[in-house]
Amino acid sequence: MRRVTALPAWLRWPLYAGVGIFVLTLVETLDDTDRLTSASASQSMLRWGVPVLLAGLGGLFAERAGVVNIGLEGMMILGTWFGAWGAVNYGPWVGLLTGIGGGALGGLLHAVATVLFGVDHIISGVAINILAPGITRFLASEIFTGYPGGSITQSPRVPGVGHFTFPVLAGGEVGGWLSPNLLGSLGDRDWFFVSNVANLARGLLTQVSLVTIVALALVPLSTWLLWRTRFGLRLRICGEHPVAGEAQGIDVYRYKITAVTMSGGFAGLAGAFIASPELSGIYLEGQTTGRGFIGLAALIFGNWHPVGVLGGALLFGYPFGLGLRDLGGTASHSLLLVNAVALAAIAAWSLSKGRRTNAAVACVLAVVAAAWYLLSETVPDWWVNILPFAIVLLVLVFFAQRLRMPAADGQRYRRGEH
C-alpha cells in the first residue's frame, strides 16, 4: 500500500472527531434519539475525561523518561484525600495544590524506589497502589473524623473553583450583559450534522470548570515542554536511550526523578479534580474506581503523545458521561451501533492492509455488537464501565504495530553500568 499523503496532526484529530460525530449523528437519526450529540453529552464527556487526561499526562511524563508508572492509581488516591483536605481547610485553589503535592509525594516514592534503588517499575507501582489507600484511610480516620460531616470513609463537602461560559459562542452573562448564544441557536435549527456539531461544541464551552481549562491547557504545554525545550529533549533521552544521555553529560537520575515526581503531581491533580464538586464534591474512599488505570489506557491509546492522550481521555469520558445520565440504558444502547460501525471500519481497514485474521476477528465482533443492538432494547449499566478497557484491548490487538512506546521504557537503568 502506498501512502498518498499523511495529514498533519492538527488536521488529523479534528478529522477523526468529525467522522466520529458524523457516525453519532447517523446513529441518532436511525435510533430517533437526541442524547448522543446533546450539549450535556459533550459537557459530561469533558468532565469525566479530565481525570483520565491528567492521569494519562502523568503517565506520559514518567514513561517518556523511561519509568513505567502503574502507581498512578495510588497517586490519584493520594490526590483525592489531600485535595479534599486542602480544599476544606484553605479553599478550592489550595486544595488543587495540596492534591498535586500529595500525588507528587507518591511519585517521589516511586521515583526513589525505581531510580535510586533499581526496584522493578511494576513491583514498585503495585506496592504504591497497596500503600496509598492505607495512607488515605489512616489520614481520614485521624483527621476527617474530627470534622463535622466527615468520617473514616468521607470528608465534609469540598468547595470548588468557579465555572466559565464562553460568551457570544455559548451565551451566559458578562457583567449583566446577556450574551448571545450563537452555538445554541445553531443547535436548535435541526440542521443535519451542523446542529449536532454546534450542540456538542456548546457543551464543551458552557459552564466549564476553571480546572478543566487548566487541564486542557496542559496538553499543548506538555507537548511544548517535551518536544520544544532542552528539558524535554533530555527527559526523552532518558526514556529512549539513557546511556546515550549519560554520555552527553545528562544527569539521568535527576531527570527521571523529576519526571516521575511530576507524573505523581498530575495524578494528584486528577484525584483533586475527582474530589472537587466537578465530579463528586466530597472525598469518598474508593472513589477513583480504577481511573488511574484508565489514564494508563489513554496513554497507550494515544501512542505516548499528549494530543493522543486527550483523544483517549475524551473517548473514554464519553460513554461514562452518557451512561451516568442514562439510567434506563437506552442512550448507551445506541452506542452499541456505534461500536458495530467502528468495528466494521476496523475490519475494512484490516482487509485493506491484507490482515485477514484481524479482519475476520473485527468482523465477528462487529456482528456480535450489531446483533446485541438489534436483539435488545437497553444495555446494562456495566457496559459503559468496561468500554474503555475493552477499547484499549481492541486497539492493542488491532493497531499494536502502530504504537511505539519509548525504547527504554520500563527498563532498569544504573549509572555507569555500560
Binding site: S141, N385, F389, L396
Partner: protein
C-alpha cells in the same frame, strides 16, 4: 559464598523490611499520641489465642494461594496483575455451577474445583494468547481484563444468577448465588484441631481449604523445581533467548505459565466458597493485589510466600483487636502492610546488589590467588 551467609543475606532483607515498617508505624503512632508498645503488645497477646490463630490461618489461606498464583508467572518473568479479576470470576462461576448439580461429596467438590480452575486458567490464558499472538504486554492486558472482569462480567453475572434466600435456620438473609449442597463443601478442620488442642468456640471453624493450599504449595515446589516443565519455565524467565535456543518453545511456555497461574488464581475464592457455600453480592476484594505483595515478600519461594501470607493475615486480623482495645487506630495495619512491601522490595534489591558485589570480590580474590600461585 557459604550457604550460611547466603541464608543470612536472604533473611536479612525481609527482616529489615519488617523492622523498618515497625519503626515507621511506631513513629506515626507516637506522632498521633498512641503508645506503639501497648498497641503491639495487644496485637501479639491477641494473636496468641487459639481462636485468633484460626482467624489468621483462615485469612492466610486465600492469600497464600493468591501469592502462589502470582509467583508461578513471576518465575517466568511474567506479571499476572489480574489475579483479582481471575479469582472473582472463577469464584462466581464455580459457586453457580456448584449450586446447579448434586453429586456425591468427593465428585461434587472436585467438580467445583475443576470449574474454578478452568475459568481462572481461561481468563489468564487469554492474556497469554494476546501476548503471544499480538505482542500485548501482559501487565497491560491483565489490568484491562481485570477491570472488565470486576466491573463488567462479575457485576453482570451476579445479577443474572442472584438468588435470594436465607442461611440455615433463616435468621441471616443471604444475598448472592444459590447455595451449594452440603456435599459440595470441604469439611472444616475443627476435628483435627481438637485432637491436638481443645474445642473451638462455637461458630469458629478452621477452613478445610488450608489443606488444599498446602497441596498447592507442594505442587508448586515440585512443578517448578523438580520437573522438566519447571526447568523450562525458570530458564525462559532467566534468559528467554537461551531457553529458545535450548529448544523451549517460548510461545507455548507463555500461554502455559499464564494458564497455570490463572488456574491457581481460580482457587483463591474457594476458602470463602467452601465456608459459606455461595458467592455473596459483596465478595471479599483485594486478595489478588495482596497476593502480589505476598509473592514479592516471599521471593516466590513456597515457604517464603507462606510467611508473607501469615504476616499479612496477622496484620489484617490485628486491625480488629486494635479497634477493640483502642490502643491505636486500626488503619495503622494497612500502612504497615504497605510499608513492609515497599521496604521489602527495596531491601531485596539492596541485598541483591550486596551479593553481586561480594561475588565479584570473592571472584577477584580467587583470581588473584591463582595468579600468585602460578
Amino acid at each position: 559464598m557459604s550457604a550460611l551467609r547466603r541464608l543470612v543475606l536472604a533473611l536479612a532483607a525481609p527482616a529489615a523490611a519488617v523492622g523498618f515498617a515497625l519503626v515507621t508505624s511506631s513513629l506515626i503512632l507516637l506522632l498521633i499520641g498512641s503508645n506503639p508498645l501497648v498497641a503491639y503488645g495487644d496485637m501479639l497477646e491477641h494473636a496468641s489465642k487459639l481462636e485468633t490463630l484460626v482467624d489468621i490461618l483462615n485469612r492466610a489461606t486465600p492469600l497464600y494461594v493468591s501469592g502462589i498464583a502470582v509467583a508461578i508467572a513471576f518465575r517466568m518473568n511474567l506479571f499476572n496483575i489480574g489475579v483479582e479479576g481471575q479469582f472473582l470470576l472463577a469464584f462466581l462461576v464455580a459457586a453457580h455451577a456448584g449450586s446447579l448439580v448434586s453429586l456425591p461429596a468427593a465428585l461434587h467438590i472436585a467438580f467445583i474445583l475443576v470449574v474454578a480452575m478452568s475459568v481462572g486458567a481461561a481468563y489468564a490464558g487469554a492474556a497469554g494468547v494476546l501476548k503471544v499472538t499480538r505482542g500485548v504486554n501482559e501487565v497491560i492486558s491483565t489490568i484491562m481484563l481485570n477491570a472488565i472482569a470486576v466491573s463488567g462480567l462479575v457485576a453482570w453475572l451476579i445479577k443474572e444468577w442472584q438468588a435470594g434466600g436465607s442461611i440455615g435456620t433463616g435468621t441471616t438473609t443471604r444475598v448472592g448465588t444459590a447455595p451449594i449442597d452440603e456435599s459440595g463443601l470441604l469439611p472444616d478442620l475443627n476435628g483435627v484441631l481438637e485432637l491436638v488442642t481443645r474445642d473451638l468456640r462455637p461458630g469458629k471453624e478452621l477452613t478445610g481449604v488450608l489443606v488444599l493450599a498446602l497441596v498447592v504449595g507442594v505442587v508448586y515446589h515440585v512443578l517448578v523445581n523438580r520437573t522438566v516443565f519447571g526447568f523450562d519455565l525458570r530458564a525462559s524467565g532467566f534468559n528467554p533467548f537461551a531457553a529458545r535456543v535450548g529448544g523451549v518453545p517460548p510461545k507455548r511456555m507463555i500461554i502455559l505459565a499464564m494458564s497455570i497461574s490463572g488456574a491457581v488464581a481460580g482457587l483463591v475464592g474457594m476458602a470463602e466458597l467452601m465456608q459459606s457455600g455461595y458467592f455473596p453480592s459483596n465478595p471479599i476484594q483485594g486478595l489478588g493485589y495482596a497476593g502480589i505483595a505476598v509473592a514479592l515478600l516471599g521471593r516466590n519461594h513456597p515457604v517464603g510466600i507462606a510467611f508473607g501470607a501469615l504476616i499479612f493475615a496477622f496484620l489484617d486480623v490485628s486491625s480488629g483487636v486494635l479497634q477493640f482495645s483502642g490502643a491505636a487506630p486500626r488503619e495503622i495495619v494497612v500502612i504497615m502492610q504497605g510499608v513492609i512491601i515497599l521496604a521489602a522490595v527495596v531491601a531485596y534489591e539492596m541485598a541483591h546488589r550486596a551479593r553481586n558485589r561480594e561475588e565479584a570480590r570473592s571472584a577477584a580474590a580467587a583470581l588473584h590467588e591463582a595468579r600468585a600461585e602460578a
